[in-house]
Structure formats: C-alpha cells, structure tokens
Symmetry: C2
C-alpha cells in the first residue's frame, strides 16, 4: 500500500469513497496530526471525559476565501471559531469534531498545511479533535476545502453562564481590543491592497481570556465574539435579545489606523467588519473596572476598552456618539459587506 | 422587514453575511422548523442538559447527489447519519448541531423541504437540533447544499460501550436487515434505472434498535453501521482494529432481489454498497440468539440475520463462504464504488 503523496498528490474521488484511500488519508494525515487517545479509538463516535459542570455545544462552517491569508488560514479559523463560541457561553472548550468537504483536484500539500495549522491551533487552545469526517465532491462542485467544526465545553461550577438576553440598563459594554482586523486582512489580501504594515487577521482562541475574566467576575452578563456583521450587528442582536438599547462612543472604540484607512478606501465601516479573536463583554457597572483590568493583563485583551453602556430603549436601538459630537443609529448589517469572510 | 419568500426565493450572498438576511433565514426557517427551548436561547453555544452516563460525540458531512432520492433526502440522511454514529457507540443520541453550506441561487423552497425533513427525522429519532450555522458560497463554488451534523449522546449506566477493537475469536456476526438498499437507490435514481418495484433508501435512525439490544445484552462487543464501503469494508476495518479474521456466509446475508439485479446490471457487489439504516453487531456466541431475537422483534431489525463468525487469523482477512461452496477473500473497497453516496 503506497503512502500519501503529500508533496504533489491531489485529492480524488476515492479519498471520499470510504475504502482504502479514505482510510489512508485518515490515518496518515488526520490521525497523525490530531493524535490523541480519544481519536485513536477509531470508532464512529468518540467517548469523552467531561469534568463537572454544565455542558455547552456549538458548530460553525468555514468557507473563507482565500484559504490562506495574512495572519491565518481556514484551519486556524475553524478551530478558533468553535472554541470561541464555546468560550462565549462561559465554558472551557474541551473537544472538537472536524468535517472536511474537499474538491477533487485539491492539492494534498495544501490540505496537509491546513490540517497542521488546525492541530497547532487545537494545542494552543487546549482542545482535542476527537472525531471527523471527509467527503469529496467533483471538480467544480466545491472550492478547494470547506471545514465544519463542532465542539463541546463545560461551564465551570460557580460561573453563571452569560447569555445575549442578560444585558440590563446601566451595564457596561467592553471590547477586548482592536476591531476589524480579520475582515480587512481578508479583503486587503483579496483585492491585492498593499499597506506599509500589512493588516493581519486577529484570529485567536479566547478560552484563556474568558477563564481569567470569569475567575475574577463569575457573573458577566453577556459575552459575544463580533464575527460576521462586526460589532454593530452583534450589539444589535444583543439589544433585541435583551430588549434594551445600547449606546457606544466612537472615540473609545479601538480601531487601528491601517484598518481605518483601508475601510475608507473601500467605503466600509469598521464597526461592521468581522473579527475572529475579539470579544465584547457586558457586565454590571460596578464589575466593569475589575473585568477591564483582567482583560488588559491578558495577552489577548491588552487593548481592551470600555466603549459604552446599556440603556432603556423601547426601540432597542444601537446608538453611536460620533467623534464629531453627533449621534447616529447603527442598524443591523443589511447588505453583503464581504462574502466568505470566514 | 419582508418575510422569506419560500415559494420562489433564491439564496443569495446576503443570507451568509451575518446581518439581517441571515437573521431572517435563521428565525423564519431554521428556528421555526427545529423549535426547541435550547435552540431558542439564541446564543453562540447551546447549554445542554445531560443525563448520567458517559458522553460520546460524532460528526458527519453530507454531500449526497441528488439531494432528493427514493426513500429520503440529504436532510434525513444528515440526521440519521450522526444519530447512528452515536448509537453505534452504545449511546442514546440526544443533541445535534447542523451546519449548512449553501450555493448562491439555491431555491429556498428546496432548502425549506430539506429543513422540514431534518426536523421530522430529529423528532422521530428523539434528538434536538440545538445549534447551527449557515454559510453561502458563490454560484459554481458549491452544489446546492452541503449539510454537516455533529452530535452528542450518553451511554446509559450499566452498558459497556461497544468498540471496533473488541471483536474476539468465536464471536457471532449479525446484521439487522437487507444490505445495499441506500447505495442502489441513489445509483438507480442517478442512472434513471427503472425496476418493477423501485429500490428505496433504507435511511433510518437506529437509536431505538440499539437501546433495545443493549437492554437485553449490555455487553455487545461491536456495533457499526456499514455506510460508505458497505459491509465488506466495515468488517475489514473491524478485523484490523481487533486483530482477528472474520468469516461470513453469502447465503445468510440478506440482499433484496432487486438490489441483486441492479448490482449485476452495473457490475457492483452489494457487499460494498452503502447502507444508511442497518447495523452489524458482533457479540459473544452465547448472547447471539438473544440479540437476534430482540433485533427481529424491532421494526428496524425484522430481517436481521446471523451471517458469520470472528476467527483467529494473523492476516486479519475477511473471508466469504460463497453460495457455490467456495471461499474468497473480500478486500477493502479500493476503487470509487459510487461517488457522493451520502
């Protein structure tokens, strides 16, 4: 039995047929990269070991284009995306599954690079990839590779699970750092824009940051990562879920100069651009200084900022106090800001 | 805000952008069809309630073509596939996630039909769909819809989890019914073959059958659903995992006449054709009559049969005693029997 040709081999339909070629792909690529005792069970489902606490579950599909971009790739994104969804529920992320939909003709070398990147991201996030699946579609029926991850985590005892419906008038709104990096990294890359210092995706796992925050303040009301749709859409969702209004201050919202410049060039608003390694936290105002201090002391939250407040508002509006002294309503993202951003 | 046009609307890129159109698709289609209190939390991750027992997790991606086929559709398959993977670990399937990768231009009517079918399949299998994700790719970069499900379940206390590495020489090999129906239903449909009685996919949830079997015999050594690659590939996998040989008897293996006929016409071997609602069980010989009786008493196992035995064999071969009195080795599926079967 020949080994996989990771140098110049291409995916063909036999890799998805469930026979020898599939088995070889699984054992020589996936199992080797993701190696752990649970995956090594090689059964249809993985037996997990869960610590005490409430279990949470999440999933995300990834179709980002291009597959490799400044600061990351689809594999990293697929691990971080689901890890972060679990963390936003107040959970410690523990286990992931990974499914691949491959296009016939895709280079095994690129797949291997993505898989290695996922393995490294999983190690950094301290999660195990415990089960997976691979399907192959004919040339022209896919786009290289799509990755779907799902995950489970456990909310530590003593932590009140945050939720989008728990924002209360008077609460403080915090963000963990600069906004818009991921979306503008993808778009700059796609459009071939060059800047003095290139914009890098912020893709990163947030489980450690959330654990530190929850250890300091076990009842943070809302945690959410502002991915597709950006900060403005995410805050609109929360305003609707909690039946409140939210007011934020433009001058306090951290946006890098390069992201600002790229957004102006392309007619985009950084508040609607996707992030993949940032979170927003809503908590009681008396807890906000402590949460902010913990965030700033953590490598993933050094540039954290207190950007606004939750208010009573029967219209559930998100209102921005602009740097020019005016106010404007920030609607939900209504058009396609940027396709295949994640 | 206009509602979704489920009659004549088409998927466009805004449905994947994370703004209003995405929110509308989620609330008017997915949340309405899958309605349950956990999904209604509308957070990034779902808080689950798990009964006592060991937790298992699994995932499968579905790219079947055509999307609708005699006896089922991609939605049904996506629910049954993951439910069955959990059941094969001895678990009661409890919760699923569902991710959709949609192609721009896909008919909302077809998506709604698939989603309704998933909802019905989930109700029948007694699982809740608790989280999901939707992405949209440009026309020509996908193929209508791909669905990825992941699931968790719990192995009831007192049940020894079955595993592919637990087959022992002397064990009995049982199957729960007719083999090859799913694969030949897809292929007949794709090739436009007509038979007197059409071949229907056997796609079905197997959690109930497994629960009945485990209640009668709490230590079944191996459970596996012979999907891609069929019975022959699955038994080869188990022989390798358990370091044993397996001997099966052709005349005892249930295959419908129509499936036999279609396979002969197309030069296929029914033992390599995919099933989506059948399982094979390997258990101690003294337990086999009881397991078989329980299977035959269950609607999903009426045609169950005792088809062979596990033997000592340093080569880990799967050997078939043919109906003509000979013996032949059944290899792993090595070529592409049938692309996009699930």
């Amino acid at each position: 039995m020949r080994g996989l040709d990771l140098e110049s081999g291409l995916i063909d339909l036999t890799h998805g047929a469930g026979g020898r070629a599939t088995a070889r792909l699984v054992s020589e690529l996936f199992q080797r990269a993701f190696a752990n005792p649970i995956l090594a069970q090689q059964n249809d489902a993985a037996l997990l070991e869960l610590p005490a606490g409430r279990v949470v579950m999440s999933t995300d599909a990834f179709v980002v284009s291009p597959l490799f971009f400044p600061g990351g790739d689809i594999g990293k994104l697929a691990v971080h995306g689901t890890v972060n969804d679990l963390a936003m529920a107040g959970a410690r992320p523990l286990y992931l599954t990974a499914s691949f939909i491959l296009e016939e003709g895709f280079a095994l070398r690129d797949l291997a690079r993505i898989v290695e990147s996922m393995a490294a991201a999983a190690r950094e996030a301290e999660v195990l990839i415990v089960a997976g699946d691979t399907k192959v579609v004919e040339r022209g029926k896919g786009d290289g590779v799509f990755v779907t991850t799902a995950g489970v985590g456990v909310v530590p005892p003593g932590v009140t699970p945050p939720g989008g419906q728990r924002a209360r008038p008077g609460d403080a709104v915090l963000v963990s750092g600069y906004l818009g990096d991921h979306g503008m990294a993808i778009l700059s890359c796609r459009r071939g824009l060059e800047f003095e210092s290139p914009i890098l995706s912020d893709t990163a796992p947030l489980g450690g940051l959330v654990a530190a925050m929850a250890a300091a303040v076990p009842d943070i009301h809302v945690l959410r990562d502002p991915t597709r749709g950006g900060l403005a859409t995410t805050l609109n969702e929360i305003a609707t879920q909690s039946s409140v209004g939210i007011r934020i201050r433009e001058r306090d919202i951290p946006v890098r100069a390069a992201v600002h410049a790229a957004c102006e060039l392309l007619g985009l608003d950084p508040l609607y651009v996707a992030n993949e390694g940032k979170l927003l936290a809503i908590c009681a105002p008396e807890d906000a200084p402590r949460v902010l201090a913990v965030m700033r002391a953590h490598p993933r939250g050094q540039d954290a900022a207190w950007i606004g407040e939750v208010v009573e508002d029967p219209d559930h509006f998100l209102e921005l106090a602009t740097s020019f002294g005016g106010n404007r309503i920030l609607e939900w993202l209504s058009a396609e800001q940027l396709p295949r951003i994640c």
